[in-house]
Symmetry: C2
Subunit: 480 residues, 2 copies
């Protein structure tokens, strides 16, 4: 072999094969017993130090790199594959989804466009999701990294709808008047971040009480003040408590006043999978754009979200660009108009669709929906135990899968409630028993358990309850 | 097991293990022999039809799903793992990167933030890349899906620099005057798309000839006209020909006029890996923000790109948000301030860093650089053969890894040059021999070979040359 014929391929494929099989065995060993281990483990200082070493100019053999990976990375995962991870809103993933990532890694597809199977898989997955949410057959969509990007895309199309063509060329200055959008108090910070990125500014977001009349009044007042209301963002599952806006009422208002209706259903969208819970989302099928995650309550491995847009042509014309070197042919590898690049900001895109496809194919919609129902029932059960407890009390009603509660501060104790609850959260995490997170409700810190975890069993909740009981007692007694 | 204890885990892990090993073997078989097969295969109508079936509500067993995957998806990949893929600008990937995706799929980390190994791996990878490009130790960065998103982030920080704090709150209307940016004619369409998304409008992008004096004059004229020049975008590797702006001269101008200097080094950034080619990027270390891809000439599997920002604090303050439920603790799973969510629009983020880490660890910087040099030498060799050919001629000089050329139209032939060249591209793709793409230079279509392929050998270029020679003859004779 002459030097100009060297490649990055291994000299010995059989050695790579052997190492790959070993690795796969280790990963399956670990995942199949994940509940027996710790829910979270802090990264030790010596590991952190090793992960600060500079890059090497020379190659390192694969066995060595895999040993480093086993030693420094595998034991210190986020924790969300564990049955007692209840923190933030994290999905659990599945072994089937992980195998799909293996395939995607080997295929190495660029799903920006062109004509190959990955494009058809993504189109199919988007159709599945559009059908699931009752979107029309000619609606469009795109898989993205998550709801934050999905919301950026949805609101970009909404912004364009205020003056189609003009805004792409002239920017927000080309809008008929300063644009304003509306969202309820429970709206996620990503909505404000999207408006900031889009150049509308965070102040263009009006927070309204979850009250249709208040919203209509605000729209009228803003119009009289010379502003241009263009969009209402509905929330299906607020992060703190899981509250769902009255989507039907919001759709009515948008329809009446000619406003774009965007729905942020980051994790709440998964209710659509359950026949019993689906009615809570009534009106979602009337959204102009819909953003939701697949890596949360639908358990596709990170990262995967989706945006759906009712008006495919406006969606396309918001993002599509003529590209010199991307001139498209009728035949060959460059065919397949329109491309996904015509529907979003990304030109190169990975084969995210495969893990969605494999997850939905293997488990089917109903089984995924059953897990959503299970988690809501678990939250109800847990809330009941908290309610009956003498050591804890609920901080908010539990209507979905989220339980927010606080430890009782004993009468006469000098301990601060926020400090007590914060310390409980930190200790139970540090001990690797479970991972709740926290939230602020009415200005006070509470312990927050969000169950978007298909691996959680009743037994896990009992272990959790026993642990917080014990840790509270320790802290209270320690401060006495 | 009671119904409320059911999960999405397999009942029989040993069966999944067996299927996983089979799958891995098939994938390694396919990748290790990829050059023996077709470079691209159109998706047959019956496969497309199957990929249009609606979603099933019921589960499908994994063996069936994997058989579907083997039948309908694996044989119809994009094609860029093949040694004779020369289309657009696609990276080749590596088996080590693919194994990293397997691990990331199993770990299922959310790398938005918190305290776990994936966060430290991403920080390490960003430091490696910042060091590589000569960025200061206190610069910041983020892994993203590719240069398009990296450019959006870079230009968002640039926009914020025009009126820090004001623009986040008030939008582009809060800028001191209408913002304008500058880029050379070779700038990629993603720059315009970024300005559109950011609400500045596509017209805010001024195209300037690659001439520092013309740029300075334009800045002065725009200022006199009441506009606010805020940013110059330099291109390191234009898509059509691989041209590189004089980055040092652009940095001088930005420094002199107080403008933000953003560099789009989507694939050209990889030159930094080669001691010999690195000088062409002189000045890149002076960029305020730098966007480049890892999935192109650095062969990390799709998708992976990076943005680096010199002013970490401005970067953070452009994107960081207070989040109620994300209140951060000093200890436990939620520690580790700042989070990656503070530096970009995404709140949930996959473990993209692992495939970058494994690629850079196993191959090392120099070997990756050797592949870049090899591809440039291959392009020079190919350009020499085209130049010597009687059937083809170069359409542009070859200065890097891209060869643009056209087939000669025989004297007296009625065939149109664009039609001839388009047909050659389509036929060589359809036959699965090789995948060049096309470009338009001076209004005429040419065949474009971009070699960002570590798997390409001299023999592949010879096969390509023989095929285009033969196809040209067929078409010319067929039209006579």
């Amino acid at each position: 072999m002459t030097p100009h014929d060297s490649t990055l391929d291994p000299e010995d494929w059989s050695e790579v094969r052997r190492l790959g099989h070993e690795l796969l065995d280790d990963l399956i060993d670990q995942l199949s017993t994940v509940g027996e281990g710790r829910a979270w483990t802090p990264v030790p200082p010596e590991v952190r130090a090793r992960l600060e070493q500079p890059a090497a100019s020379f190659p390192t053999d694969l066995p060595t790199v895999l040993d480093e990976l086993r030693r420094d990375i595998l034991p210190y995962a986020t924790g969300n594959t564990h049955p007692r991870w209840f923190g933030w809103v994290h999905g659990t993933g599945t072994v089937e989804g992980a195998l799909a990532e293996l395939v995607a890694g080997f295929m190495n597809c660029n799903v920006g466009g062109r004509d190959h199977a990955a494009v058809h898989v993504e189109r199919q997955v988007i159709r599945w999701l559009a059908d699931l949410f009752g979107f029309p057959a000619d609606s469009s969509g795109l898989l993205v990294s998550g709801t934050s990007v999905a919301t950026i895309i949805g609101l970009a199309v909404a912004r364009e709808s205020a003056a189609p063509g003009e805004i792409r060329r002239g920017g927000v200055a080309a809008a008929p008047a300063p644009l304003v959008a509306y969202a309820s108090d429970g709206a996620h910070v990503s909505v404000r971040k999207a408006l900031e990125l889009l150049g509308l500014g965070g102040d263009s977001l009006r927070r309204v009480p979850a009250n249709p009349h208040a919203l209509e009044k605000m729209i009228a007042t803003d119009r009289e003040a010379g502003l241009h209301p263009f969009c209402v963002v509905g929330t299906a599952g607020s992060v703190t408590t899981g509250a769902i806006d009255d989507l039907g009422a919001l759709a009515d208002i948008c329809s009446r006043h000619g406003l774009w209706f965007h729905v942020d259903a980051a994790f709440g969208g998964a209710l659509i999978l359950s026949e019993r819970l689906r009615p809570r989302l009534a009106g979602i099928e009337r959204a102009d754009s819909l953003a939701f995650d697949l890596h949360k309550w639908m358990h596709v491995p990170y990262d995967a979200g989706c945006v759906l847009v009712r008006d495919a042509e406006l969606h396309r014309s918001t993002f599509s660009a003529d590209r010199n070197y991307l001139s498209r042919f009728e035949r060959g590898a460059g065919a397949g108009h329109p491309w996904f690049t015509d529907f979003g900001p990304e030109l190169s895109r990975g084969f995210r669709a495969l893990k969605v496809w494999v997850t939905l194919r293997t488990h089917g919609l109903d089984r995924l929906g059953a897990m959503v129902e299970k988690n809501c029932e678990q939250a109800t059960w847990l809330a009941g135990r908290i309610k009956d407890s003498e050591s804890f009390h609920l901080a908010a009603p539990t209507s979905l899968n989220i339980v927010c509660f606080q430890a009782e501060v004993p009468a006469g104790s000098r301990i601060d409630s926020d400090d007590l609850n914060r310390e409980i959260v930190m200790r139970i995490q540090e001990r690797g028993i479970a991972v709740p997170s926290s939230a602020e409700i009415d200005g006070r810190l509470c312990i927050r358990v969000a169950i978007t975890n298909h691996r959680t069993r009743r037994e896990d909740l009992k272990i959790f309850l026993a642990a917080i009981e014990e840790i509270r007692r320790e802290i209270v007694e320690g401060s006495a």
